[in-house]
C-alpha cells in the first residue's frame, strides 16, 4: 500500500483527535507503518483542531505534510483553514449542511465532496456519533484499514463504555457503517 496522507480538521470537542487516534491504532494493529500527530499550538485552545495521519507499508518520513490525499473539514471555518492542504490529487470532504463561502473551498482538488454527516447523525442516529460517521467515511474513501479492524479499534477505545451500555456499541458500529457507505456512494457520483 502506497503512502496515504489524511488531514482531519474540526472544532475542539468534535472528537477529531479521538477519531484520528482510533484510525491510526487500527492501521498500526494491521501491521502498517503509521504516524499520527495532532496540531497542538495555541490555536488548539479555541481554534481549529487538525489531525495529520499517514499510513503506508513503507517507513514514513516527515510527520507532517503539505498536501493530503484526503482532507476532511468538520466545521465551517475548518473548510477555509484546511483548503491549502488540497491539490489536484486530493479528495476534499466537508459536511453538505455547511454554509461555505465558495472562496473558502480549495482551488485545486481531485474532487470536492459534501457528505450529510451531521444531518444523518442528528436524524438517524445520535449527534454524539457524528465523528464515528466521519471515521467510517475516511475508511470508505481510502481503505487504509479493513472495516473489521476499524470496529476492533473502536471496541478497544470505547469498550469500557460499551460494557456499561451495549446499545452504544450498536450505535457506533452503525455510524461507522453509514459513514463508509456514504463515502463510497460519493466516490461513485460524477463531478462535485
Amino acid at each position: 500500500m502506497a503512502l496515504v496522507k489524511i488531514a482531519l480538521a474540526g472544532e475542539g470537542g468534535q472528537g477529531v483527535q479521538s477519531v484520528a487516534e482510533i484510525i491510526a491504532e487500527a492501521a498500526y494493529n494491521e501491521e502498517k507503518q503509521t504516524i499520527y500527530i495532532p496540531n497542538f499550538g495555541l490555536e488548539q485552545r479555541g481554534g481549529v483542531s487538525i489531525a495529520f495521519i499517514q499510513v503506508s507499508d513503507e517507513r514514513i518520513g516527515a510527520p507532517k505534510f503539505n498536501k493530503a490525499d484526503v482532507v476532511i473539514a468538520l466545521s465551517e471555518r475548518a473548510v477555509g483553514r484546511t483548503a491549502h492542504y488540497s491539490d489536484e490529487n486530493t479528495l476534499f470532504v466537508y459536511d453538505s449542511g455547511f454554509k461555505v463561502d465558495e472562496n473558502d473551498l480549495p482551488r485545486q482538488a481531485k474532487k470536492i465532496i459534501g457528505l450529510p454527516a451531521i444531518d444523518t447523525a442528528n436524524k438517524e442516529l445520535h449527534p454524539r456519533v457524528f465523528n464515528i460517521i466521519i471515521m467510517g467515511a475516511v475508511i470508505g474513501l481510502t481503505n487504509i484499514v479493513d472495516f473489521e479492524a476499524a470496529k476492533k479499534a473502536l471496541e478497544n477505545k470505547l469498550g469500557y463504555k460499551f460494557e456499561k451500555n451495549p446499545d452504544l456499541r450498536e450505535l457506533n458500529f452503525k455510524a461507522l457503517e453509514l459513514g463508509k457507505q456514504m463515502a463510497e456512494e460519493s466516490l461513485k457520483e460524477g463531478g462535485q
Binding site: 507503518q33 504516524i35 499520527y36 496540531n39 518520513g61 516527515a62 510527520p63 507532517k64
Partner: protein, 363 residues
C-alpha cells in the same frame, strides 16, 4: 529493582510516552521536572508509571530547581533525570553548567519548541546551540539528536549509561513533533539485548574517614578560589572529553560514495532528507545522506571523510532553525572548501519536497 518489560513488545505511542517508558526500563530512580509544552507528557506518564514500580517524582517550583535537584540526586547515587523545552531549557542551563563543572551524570530530555522566548509550543530545531554549548562552560556535554521513537527509546537507555560511564551531562534532543506524534516502536528490557546498565554509585558521603587517610577526599567543586585551580580543571576535563569523544560519536551515512551533493541534517529532519535522497536518486540525481546522531561530540572526522571520499560539489544543510546546526557544522569542519548551501526553515517542519526543490534549484 522490579523488571519493567519482561518480554520485548511492540507499541504504538507518543514520543513523550516512549521517553517515560525508556527511563523506567533504564532503571531510573527519580525524575524532577516542571511542566512545559511539548514535554509535559513525559512527566504525566512518569508520574502515572513511577509509583507502580517504586520510582520517585518531584515537581519543583521551576526549571532551575528541577535541574539542581537532579544534580543533587545523582550525587547521592540515584539515577535521576529531567525533561524540558524552550524557555525551560534556558533556565536549566545554570544547573547543566554545574553538572559540567562537577562532572555530574545527569540525563535531560529536551523536546525543542519554537523560539526565541516562548516562541511556539509546537516544534523547532532551535535549541541546538543551547543544548550543545549553553551555559558558561566549554560544552562538555553529550547530545544525542533522535529521529524516531525507536531512537528515543534506545538513546534514553544509552544516555543513562553514557552519563554514568563518562560522567558528563547527557542530553536526548528531540522536538515537539517527536514528542507528540504516535508511531510504532519496540520496547525491551536492556539486559535482554545484552545492554548492561552501568551501576550508579554515590559521589559524596562515602564510607571511610578522610582524616585517617582511609580514602581520598571527593572534590566536587563548582567554584575555585584561584584562577590557576580552575585553569587546571578546565584543561583536564577538556582533555578527558576529547579523549572519550571517538568512543561516543555516532552518525549515519548513506550513498555518499559517489554523491554530487551531500544532504546534511539531524533529528526528525533527517527522515525527510532520507526520503529526499531516495527520490533524487530515482530521478538520476546523485545525492548522499549524512546525519550526525551525536551533535556533541560531533562526527567531524567522519563528515570530512565522507566529503573527501565522494568528491561532492556541494553540501546542503537542512534544519528547522536559522543556522544553528549550520554554524555548529561549519566550526567543526573548518578548512573544508566544499560550498555549503542552506535550507533554513526556523520553527516549521521540513518535508522531502522542500529538500528536493532546494537541491534542484542549486545543482
Amino acid at each position: 529493582m522490579q523488571q519493567v518489560i519482561t518480554e520485548s513488545k511492540k507499541a504504538f505511542m507518543t514520543g513523550n510516552e516512549t521517553a517515560a517508558w525508556a527511563a523506567l526500563a533504564s532503571g531510573a530512580d527519580v525524575m524532577f521536572g516542571y511542566p512545559i509544552t511539548p514535554q509535559n507528557e513525559i512527566m504525566h506518564y512518569w508520574t502515572r508509571l513511577a509509583p507502580q514500580y517504586g520510582r520517585g517524582f518531584l515537581q519543583t517550583e521551576d526549571e532551575i530547581s528541577a535541574g539542581f535537584t537532579v544534580c543533587g540526586a545523582v550525587q547521592s547515587g540515584k539515577k535521576a533525570f529531567t525533561a524540558t523545552a524552550g524557555p525551560g531549557n534556558v533556565l536549566m542551563q545554570e544547573p547543566f553548567g554545574m553538572a559540567e563543572g562537577m562532572r555530574l551524570p545527569l540525563l535531560a530530555i529536551i523536546q525543542q519548541r519554537g523560539g526565541p522566548s516562548s516562541g511556539t509550543v509546537i516544534y523547532s530545531q532551535q535549541e541546538v546551540a543551547l543544548t550543545t554549548f549553553g551555559g558558561n562552560g566549554e560544552g562538555w556535554r553529550i547530545v544525542y539528536s533522535t529521529a524516531t521513537h525507536q531512537e528515543i527509546y534506545d538513546y534514553v537507555i544509552k544516555g543513562f549509561n553514557t552519563a554514568w560511564k563518562y560522567r558528563f551531562p547527557t542530553f536526548i534532543l528531540g522536538d515537539g513533533y517527536q514528542a507528540k506524534m504516535r508511531e510504532p516502536l519496540e520496547m525491551y528490557d536492556p539486559e535482554t539485548r545484552g545492554i548492561k546498565m552501568v551501576d550508579t554509585y554515590p559521589l559524596i558521603g562515602l564510607d571511610g574517614s578522610i582524616t585517617n587517610a582511609e580514602r581520598e577526599p571527593q572534590h566536587l567543586c563548582n567554584i575555585y578560589s584561584l584562577e590557576e585551580e580552575l585553569y587546571d580543571v578546565v584543561l583536564k576535563n577538556t582533555a578527558e572529553y576529547e579523549s572519550i569523544s571517538p568512543e561516543i560519536v555516532e552518525y549515519e551515512e548513506r550513498q555518499c560514495e559517489d554523491a554530487e551533493i551531500i544532504i546534511l541534517s539531524h533529528g526528525v529532519v533527517a527522515r525527510a532528507a532520507d526520503d529526499a535522497v531516495k527520490a533524487l536518486r530515482a530521478q538520476g540525481i546523485k545525492a548522499g545522506y549524512f546525519r550526525p546522531i551525536t551533535l556533541r561530540p560531533y562526527p567531524e572526522k567522519q563528515l570530512r571523510a565522507a566529503i573527501a571520499r565522494s568528491g561532492a560539489k556541494k553540501l546542503l544543510i537542512a534544519e528547522s532553525a536559522y543556522g544553528q546546526f549550520y554554524r555548529l557544522t561549519r566550526q567543526e569542519i573548518y578548512g573544508e572548501t566544499i560550498p555549503m548551501e542552506t535550507l533554513f526553515m526556523p520553527g516549521v517542519g521540513i518535508i522531502d519536497y522542500d529538500i528536493i526543490s532546494k537541491v534542484k534549484s542549486i545543482l
